[in-house]
């Protein structure tokens, strides 16, 4: 596991998917809120930004993708 | 003298397992091992400890507390010399030194020819006529070095021993 370019981005995607896997058993709204709160509490703005750039990545869990959308909106708003 | 089996781990484990369920199993197990092997072999100690959920040290303490248990099979003959107070007062110490020197063994030792094991005991109940001793099952009173020598010779004589 050495540094292929983009390897770090793939790691962020994996981390986000893992978080989503935990919250998946909750109702959608609670799950989204949980994931979003978790990311905002523990990730640096730079990491969040990198994650958002991976929105189109097919590896991104759909639940994460929906959270990314809401993060974008807040960032804009 | 009974013939003893050579130490065999599987056989030892069988003996231990067979009795481990008893209430107060320690002594029965040790006796059974000694009956089979003529002693409680060193390698049996961890088995006993494990089966009874005791430490190896505790098992060792138990084996050494009871004079009947041995770590190695005894010689053909066992000579027990009393070291308790009354016999001491009757001069047992000097006698013991002499006997041990002549046989060339320490306490618990076995002579080079495997003939005799010497064990200390603490009181044989013959206090009034010490120094006392016990050769195999035979008690001896007012023991002297010469008397012991004669008794040992007699014992080793196949005609007598049989």
């Amino acid at each position: 596991m050495t540094a292929a370019p983009g390897a770090e981005g793939a790691k962020l995607v994996r981390m986000a998917n893992q978080i989503a896997a935990f919250f998946r058993s909750y109702p959608e709204a609670t799950a989204q809120e949980g994931i979003r709160g978790h990311l905002l509490s523990f990730w640096t703005p730079r990491m969040l930004q990198d994650l958002c750039e991976h929105e189109a990545d097919t590896k991104v869990d759909s639940l994460v993708r929906r959270v990314i959308v809401s993060l974008r909106t807040t960032a804009k708003g | 003298m009974a013939d003893y089996e050579d130490w065999d781990a599987a056989r030892g484990q069988d003996i231990v397992n067979g009795l481990a369920g008893l209430e107060g199993a320690t002594l029965p197990i040790l006796h059974a091992l000694q009956a089979a092997f003529g002693c409680v072999p060193r390698d049996a100690v961890p088995m006993v400890a494990d089966a009874l959920n005791m430490s190896r040290a505790e098992v060792h303490g138990c084996i050494t507390f009871y004079h009947d248990f041995r770590a190695e099979p005894a010689a053909r003959h066992v000579l027990k010399l009393c070291r308790a107070e009354a016999c001491q007062a009757a001069g047992a110490d000097a006698l013991h030194r002499q006997v041990l020197d002549e046989l060339g063994v320490p306490w618990h030792g076995t002579t080079a020819d495997g003939g005799i094991t010497v064990e200390p005991v603490f009181c044989l109940g013959l206090c009034a006529c010490g120094p006392s001793a016990m050769l195999d099952e035979a008690p001896m009173a007012r023991v002297t070095a010469a008397g012991l020598r004669a008794a040992l010779r007699a014992r080793d004589d196949p005609r007598v021993a049989a």
């Binding site: 596991m1 | 100690v45 040290a57 303490g61 603490f122």
Partner: protein, 947 residues
Amino acid sequence: MSLIKELDYGTPIRVSEQTVTLTIDGQSVSVPLGTSVMAAALHAGTQIPKLCATDSLEPFGSCRLCLVEIEGRRGTPASCTTPAENGMVVHTQNDRLAKLRRGVMELYISDHPLDCLTCAANGDCELQDMAGAVGLREVRYGYGGDNHIHSAKDESNPYFTYDASKCIVCNRCVRACEEVQGTFALTIAGRGFESRVAPGNTDFFGSECVSCGACVQACPTATLTEKTVIDHGQPEHSTVTTCAYCGVGCSFKAEMQGNRVVRMTPYKHGGANAGHSCVKGRFAYGYATHKDRITKPMVRAKITDPWREVSWQEALEHAASEFHRLQAAFGVDSIGGITSSRCTNEEAYLVQKLVRAGFGNNNVDTCARVCHSPTGYGLKVTFGTSAGTQDFASVDQADVIMVIGANPTDAHPVFASRMKRRLRAGAKLIVVDPRHIDLVRSPHIKAQHHLPLRPGTNVAVLNAMAHVIVTEGLVAEDYVRARCDLAEFESWARFAADPRHAPEAVEAQTGVPAAEIRGAARLYATGGNAAIYYGLGVTEHSQGSTTVMAMANLAMATGNIGREGVGINPLRGQNNVQGSCDMGSFPHELPGYRHVSDDATREMFDAVWGSKLRPEPGLRINNMLDEAVEGRFRGIYIQGEDIAQSDPNTHHVIAALEAMECVVVQDLFLNETAKYAHIFLPGSSFLEKDGTFTNAERRINLVRQVMPPMAGLADWETTMALSNALGYRMNYTHPSEIMDEIAALTPTFAGVSFKRLAEVGSVQWPCNDAAPLGTPVMHVDRFVRGTGKFMITEYVATEERTGPRFPLLLTTGRILSQYNVGAQTLRTENIKWHPQDVLEIHPFDAESRGIVEGDLVMLASRSGEIALAAHLSERVQPGVVYTTFHHAKSGTNVITTEFSDWATNCPEYKVTAVQVRPTNRLADWQEQFADNEVALKRIAPRAAAAA
């Protein structure tokens, strides 16, 4: 300074609501019911002579020296075994007693060498004291008779000697090994005159002895004596301080001659250990003065250059200018720092302050990331506090003890002794662990249930227990209604009741028979006070945080939180891992676990620190390393932590370190990380500084300096000097001032000060106006967060899977004699117990691979491979292999992967898919390691450095 002498009451201090009043030598005294006449006499100021009694042990009554007369009773009873009663009239001194005692002493002395003047215990021998106390003047028996004076010595233990000629067979050592340590390694062999203390049919080193030293401490003569005392003589002064090894946090008297430690003796009033210790704390302190200690600051331009010794000023200015340069070129966020869980609270606080206020970012993390970060997260979410709920003493009230993923007899030995005492007294035990650890079955201990689960299935097992509790109606409904959030409870209960969590449904996945899970769940829920103790086998998984929450769920559902004898208790690995977390070592939290986004908290800190704190979390260690590889993170200040050895996937860690331009390492030794460093700042050991450590039960203990820092500066002074060189002013003259600042800024620490600690010994946070003496048990009337919050803990299996290429699961752990990366313990005689890391493999798996005991085998995972010796053992189950990570050269973390806990990124050390095959060579990494040991650790000769 003087030698601290603790009073010995002869028999244990009893606690009772009732008191009894009696008269001793004409003086009236009241003592708790159950107190012995001997201890009562000491309360009245009279020391009755004694030999076989000491207050760490139950009375035994064998020496007959403590005889007294009691009016209305016949004979002369032993005062140690006679309980004090109302109205008793006791005489401890008269001619008859004096004569009896002298007679007893005479018998002892007649079989004891009279070499007091040259004896190692001279001045510290109770036999000598008693001979004096009873006025022994002549010995009538002489040495003519049999005696033991020429018995051989047993010097096999590296730290203490057994000299049988001096033994008075008082049995104190045997009882200490049983009652205090719980190992049962000693016995009295033989009987009558022949009886002698023996560690079984072998010597001490070869015996079951774990070298805790309790017997040595209990021995009233020189029979069992520390070799250091034999070599150097008796100490002349002593200072109470705290062990720097594990999270138990034992208090010790460092007994000194000048600046030399002669002996470490566990302190009877230590809140965590009450006078007991393990082999590490008592004996393994020699690393502090080991020749490998680096005592000069050093710098180098490239890691392949030899180190150059420089002045403190040059080293610090160089570090400061490098950090400034990097921030100017690559941004404020391009550097960060790591606090140490080995250093004091004050030191951890200063490092995070330096990063947040001096560097101006939140890129600070600590080694707790790799061990107990899920504990902090999971317990905060469910209960509201990132810490264990109980004090250690609470275990004395537990009826059911559940140990999950912890091996206390090896990793937390002093607490394990206490737990074992409770188990011997009848508490029931559940062990959840893939391995057959000692607690499952060892002398006089036997688990009622052992759940030998597949590594990585903790959550599935706990959910199955929850299923049993919910579906069999074992929920403590009143408790839940009164204390917990009911809506959350109900959705959790529905989740738990789902048939897919039934023990029968998860049996195949977890490998645990359903009946065992059901039995364990029923016992936990219905057996009285139930307490959970857990370790890294819970946290170091990709579901670490989930597992912590699952345990919290169980405890809440059964009402096992908020009183003595229950609770959720993390057994913390490092001495100050709790403290370093409390001190704000995580990138998202300021001291006291307050999120950096909280404006009010930041404002309070800004006002005192003169800073402008950032509201967003910074980088965690693993993020720092990732960003380093990407080129965004360029410099790091690492205090007392060896990430190159202790963090997972060594290849990746090293790639990251190599990519950085300024790695500053502050440590005692040139550790693995220092191989990749550019600036080395010599650290100070726990003996060289003042401060505090916080143990696993939130107990804040004082650390006291007993010798000057070898490099001239204590670690807190070094951080302060670095900060000043960077231009961020810090000005403390003593660590107590740092604690005052912490107390002023942190509500849970408001009542803590060095003065308070010195007065009361220790306190458990929260310590403030509401709880001036601290808080042993938390969440008593309500949870810190208000209501307890049940969490839904779905089991999500790790992505690390076994398959045809890697069919076995590797799990890792530690052993008693060694500590973590081994930097300290391997520099002591403790190495004798663990000369190398070995791979435990089940005989079945070994046989199918043609491996026999002692073979060199190659252990390969997706991350890398290493070679080590195989040890066939049925402690592991088929399909699972196990090793330790104490020796750097074994490179265990070359194997471990970067998978980590979903919530905290705590690495998944406990599960790696591997293959094992016989080999006849070392792995490439290990060959390279041997080369690097030389190439990356060179120090230029002094003359050249000066030139």
